[in-house]
């Protein structure tokens, strides 16, 4: 049905081409956590537009994180590069590598970007850099965190949230009621969430997961990742404290709200959503550790596509600076539940008041001291999927061993990374 129809040419004449002012720029953003937020985002855009005359930002809603990537890339290839896009934080490396987005120094003029990045939490910085240049400015970030039902804990005689993996297994077993009446622990294992949590468990197990300096290496068959795969798998098959098979994030939150799951792991970005929907006493705790406390960051950053005019670049920077100012980034954090990646936002009085009222929001921030960057390699999604497929297989098939799964994940990921490695680490430069 899709025809590149010549009939379209007939119509070109019918459409008065809209006069586009040079400083009109497009800002593409996905629906974060809850849909009502896209309305709030449009409000912010309006506020910016009325605050000055030089730039007119058009807020463009672009669906999910993946749709946002597809749409902005397609628009750029078709010759309409968007000036500002809110992009999943770990896509920036790949976009920069493929020369699709521009380093922020091209937008920012004389601004000291390294100095600016110092105002952001150390954990969010690595994903913002590529080859020594800042390519993205963090806007809304999250880490995985443990939510637990305090009433179930009291009932099972558990006095505090688990801090180590051993305590975690113990608590999960105690909280589980047989025949699926209640699960001790649930974690989302759908794509994207799955890889993020395997990385979180690997980091808590002392691992690095991927080479944070060189994007052509991944450590799936290392002991730390193997241990993470085994640990997650055992919850389902050995301890019988988690449903087998693939569970998506919506099932996880729904089970938690209905009392069918006592502990869940979800993004801190879901804090406001949980706060609004949990009709019982709940709390949040750090992700338990085996070797160390450590989690990857998640969330989204602002990037700018290649091919915009100088005037658009200037406008884009003006908007990015405004949106990531401590005031606005703090406001967005309070509204959504994401933590504000800019540390200085927490020095503002509104933010101090908010964290005093909502100590769970503070917990998410405290965990940041132990956070690291999110997997970003050559062809990130395919590399991530290599381990996600194996983790899903492990959860579904009790016969599959974690060693076999790790070996296969490594093999498949290596095949994806091979072309990049051939051109870089295996070539004299």
């Amino acid at each position: 049905m899709f025809i590149r129809s010549a009939v379209g040419a007939l119509c070109a004449g019918l459409i008065a081409s809209s006069a586009v002012a040079a400083e009109r720029i497009e800002f593409m953003f996905p629906a974060p956590v809850q849909g009502k937020l896209s309305r709030e985002m449009q409000k912010l855009v309006k506020e910016f537009n009325s605050s000055q005359d030089g730039v007119e930002v058009v807020g463009v809603f672009t669906g999910s994180y993946d749709d946002t990537k597809v749409k902005s890339q397609a628009a750029a290839e078709a010759g309409k590069p968007p000036a500002v896009v809110l992009m999943s934080a770990n896509f920036a490396t790949e976009l920069a590598m493929n020369d699709l987005i521009v380093p922020m120094k091209e937008l920012a003029g004389g601004t000291d970007l390294d100095g600016l990045m110092q105002e952001f939490w150390p954990a969010v910085r690595p994903n913002a850099y590529f080859n020594g240049d800042v390519y993205s400015i963090p806007f809304q970030n999250s880490t995985p965190i443990l939510y637990y039902n305090k009433e179930h804990f009291a009932e099972a005689g558990i006095t505090k949230a688990p801090e180590t993996w051993a305590e975690w297994v113990d608590a999960a077993k105690k909280l589980t009621k047989p025949e699926g009446e209640r699960w001790g622990i649930m974690m989302p294992s759908n794509y994207d969430y799955n890889g993020w949590l395997v990385q979180a468990l690997t980091m808590a197990n002392g691992g690095q997961f991927y080479n944070t300096v060189y994007p052509g290496e991944i450590f799936y068959d290392h002991a730390s990742t193997q241990g993470a795969l085994k640990f997650w798998r055992d919850f389902a098959h050995q301890h019988k404290a988690m449903p087998t098979g693939v569970t998506n994030s919506k099932q996880v939150s729904t089970s938690f709200f209905s009392g069918k799951a006592s502990m869940i792991v979800l993004s801190t970005g879901a804090l406001t959503f949980v706060r609004d929907n949990a009709k019982f006493d709940y709390d949040v705790a750090f992700m338990p550790r085996n070797i160390r406390n450590s989690v990857p960051i998640g969330g989204a950053s602002l990037v700018s596509f290649k091919g915009t005019t100088d005037a658009q670049k200037k406008g884009a920077w003006e908007f990015i600076s405004w949106l990531t100012s401590p005031e606005k980034i703090g406001h967005w954090s309070r509204f959504t539940g994401y933590f504000a990646p800019r540390q200085t936002a927490y020095d503002l009085p509104e933010m101090k008041k908010f964290t005093a009222e909502h100590p769970d929001a503070l917990r998410a921030v405290e965990q940041l001291a132990y956070a690291g960057p999110w997997i970003a390699t050559y062809n990130t999604v395919a590399v991530r999927k290599a381990v996600e497929d194996e983790m899903q297989a492990l959860l579904s098939d009790p016969e599959l061993t974690f060693r076999e799964a790790a070996t296969r994940a490594q093999k498949n990921a290596d095949a994806v990374l091979a072309p990049y490695a051939e051109q870089t680490a295996l070539t004299l430069k």
Binding site: V58, G59, V70
Partner: protein, 280 residues
């Protein structure tokens, strides 16, 4: 088996029971959506999955859906989109169908098969090339841009060719003897006899474009040109672990309402046209 049960268990009754079971199965998603949209606590809870309305119905989800969406605008845009697509399609497929059915020209068969090959292409493959064309034509970010790639329809052309070929040539010859030109033949003889085919195609086209999500999402940037499907997702989708099912259900019911009402009202005509056009 009891005797009176035997009396009831005739083949006809069994068939009816089986049909009822199938109908129930097929309408489950719709029933669930209807019930979910009236649920007072739509955020979560396993009760959400239940098909049994075990609550006092509330219009809260509908209220939120109305408050959150710019419905009149989205309905207008979707209506413009499906109408604009269909009107042009009806003209192009009638003409192309006529050419392939009646006119002899060199390479006709080959061209026809090349035309049909388009049906094999998965639309997402064409996103970037189509967008590039739209940008060159100045149609990016316009509703016309969403419609344009669909103005030539391989499926519609094929359908009309087949329909025209089932009409005996005698009718046309009679008209030609009376001095009708080819377009008068098409307009006054072939098209009136092909109405079932055109209706069947119209239904397929309208339903497809009314429900389409990815392509309008790619082409449209301006919030004033947003269509229903993209609009619904803009306030009802959650990226990180959250979904308001009641809101999604209410919004989806809004979107499907016009098509649902139209289909119920003209059910007999629609089904007849599918029967006689061979589209099922």
């Amino acid at each position: 088996m009891k005797p009176d049960l035997k009396k009831w268990a005739t083949p006809g009754a069994l068939l009816a029971a089986a049909m009822c079971a199938v109908v129930f199965l097929w309408s489950t998603p719709f029933l669930w959506m209807l019930i979910a949209s009236f649920r007072p606590d739509p955020g979560g809870g396993l009760g959400m999955a239940s098909l049994v309305p075990d609550f006092v119905p509330t219009l809260q989800s509908y209220r939120y859906a109305i408050e959150d969406g710019y419905w009149p605008l989205w309905f207008l845009n979707s209506t413009i989109l499906v109408t604009g697509t269909l009107v042009v399609q009806l003209v192009t497929i009638s003409l192309a169908g006529y050419a392939f059915a009646r006119i002899t020209f060199p390479g006709k068969e080959a061209i026809f098969y090349i035309f049909l090959l388009q049906l094999m292409l998965a639309p997402p493959v064409l996103i970037v090339p189509n967008l590039t064309t739209l940008v060159h034509l100045g149609l990016y970010d316009s509703l016309i841009g969403v419609m344009a790639p669909y103005w030539g329809s391989a499926f519609g052309t094929f359908l009309m060719r087949q329909t025209f070929r089932t009409i005996p040539k005698d009718f046309e010859e009679a008209a030609i003897i009376d001095g009708a030109s080819w377009w008068q033949v098409l307009r006054h003889v072939l098209i009136p006899l092909s109405l079932p085919g055109l209706t069947a195609f119209s239904i397929v086209s309208v339903v497809y474009h009314w429900n389409e999500f990815l392509w309008p999402l790619m082409v449209i940037n301006d919030p004033d040109k947003m269509v229903l499907t993209v609009g619904l997702v803009s306030f009802a989708q959650g990226a990180e672990g959250a979904s308001d099912w009641g809101l999604i259900a209410a919004g989806t019911l809004f979107i499907m309402a016009p098509l649902f009402i139209a289909f119920t009202a003209f059910q007999r005509q629609f089904v007849n046209s599918f029967m006689s056009s061979g589209v099922k």
